[in-house]
Symmetry: C2
Subunit: 237 residues, 2 copies
């Protein structure tokens, strides 16, 4: 079992992830935000919060990647979005005093800060740029969610899986070799993004291999022909 790596967590004012939403806050505000902050370690696979449970504040990812997913009636997962360093989690439910509407799971070992609800609210009230930033985040998420709805509703599986690979590339990029997707997912998880079953995902990926678009090496996916994938996803025009 991997040991917890001790990491020095700075005040939000000195956080390297400050190129995020928090850049709109002056340092003294950030210090206030940090007062009751705590930082927690989550091992890969661990759950940060569960759909249905009640929030006590919001999370900010210091290090690592997180998946946000919802559970359907039959226990099948739908991955709604990913979040990475500097991004916020759970603030929506916290603001509206509702239970979490999705589950957040660490995709890799993570350090995640927790900021109590009242500190977050204070920041929202005292700084309109911060509010605007949150509005922008929400707008972006909403835009993507609605586009996703359209895709899952109307595009065939093949196109959705191709687009999923392209999104993984856009979002997380390649490894050093410049072609292997740096985000490693199980076939099931890829299906849970695209809204299909594991079996269909496997068959479709192996089609892509036959067509020369990608190469598979276990969970590692190399993109061999990006344009072909883009065409497969019907993303030209």
């Amino acid at each position: 079992m991997m040991k917890r790596q001790p990491v020095d967590i700075p005040s939000c004012a000195n956080c390297e992830n400050n190129n995020s939403i928090f850049c709109s806050l002056p340092n003294d505000e950030l210090d206030k935000l940090s007062v009751n902050k705590d930082n927690n370690f989550f091992k890969k696979g661990q759950v940060i919060f569960y759909e249905g449970n009640h929030p006590h504040g919001m999370y900010c990812i210091y290090q690592g990647k997180v998946k946000i997913s919802k559970l359907g009636d039959e226990g099948k997962e739908q991955i709604v979005r990913f979040a990475g360093e500097g991004e916020l989690l759970g603030y929506r439910s916290s603001l509206s005093n509702e239970s979490y509407k999705a589950t957040a799971t660490a995709m890799e070992d993570c350090y995640i800060c927790h900021i109590p609800k009242d500190k977050f609210s204070e920041a929202l009230n005292s700084n309109s740029n911060f509010s605007l930033g949150i509005i922008r985040l929400l707008s972006e998420d909403l835009k993507k969610a609605e586009q996703n709805l359209l895709n899952i509703s109307q595009k065939p599986v093949r196109e959705r899986i191709a687009e999923t690979l392209l999104n993984l590339k856009k979002r997380f990029g390649y490894e050093e070799d410049g072609k292997t997707l740096s985000m490693t997912l199980t076939r099931r998880e890829i299906g849970d993004i695209a809204g299909t079953t594991t079996e269909t995902t496997i068959r479709t990926l192996s089609d892509f291999v036959k067509e020369g678009s990608i190469h598979l090496d276990g969970k590692k996916i190399q993109i061999l022909d990006l344009n072909k994938l883009i065409r497969t996803a019907s993303l030209f025009e």
Copy 2:
């Protein structure tokens, strides 16, 4: 052709729809918002703005109902949400200076105010309660969009159509008789909400009739057995 009904449009400060997002603004702010406001009439079926076009401000519905929809690759529509009196349209694209990501169409004769972008921004900057209100709106929309994604991705058509009827009831209520849905849609539009074809929608609705859940009279839909519909939609627990 129906005549345009002349209607006196008050300043936002005196708008009867003031139980909306604008209640967080003091009257003098509302007056400022109204300065360059104009009010437009849209006949049923007319488009308020098109997906892909560029916004110059945001809309607030004074009277009437509007559908927000996106167009898929094959020209099939996906209805994303409805908006009614006092609700805002197009502010997201306006804020982020992007093109509209969806099309807004009048579902009935509408009066809709247009407020220039800069007035809206000013209100956001000067009043944190207003920002918070917008954040709440966005959060609610995002929550619904993600739930929708899960539904369309995982629930069978039958359940989705049942849920669509229930949502229409929740959102727009009944006519005076206490059982006829007051929102009248074509079969195609119902399908465009549930993410299915017109034919499947027709067949499913006629199943519901056979089962005694609803009664159909042209486009009018009466809900005869609400609990049965709820069960059909798998919405208990």
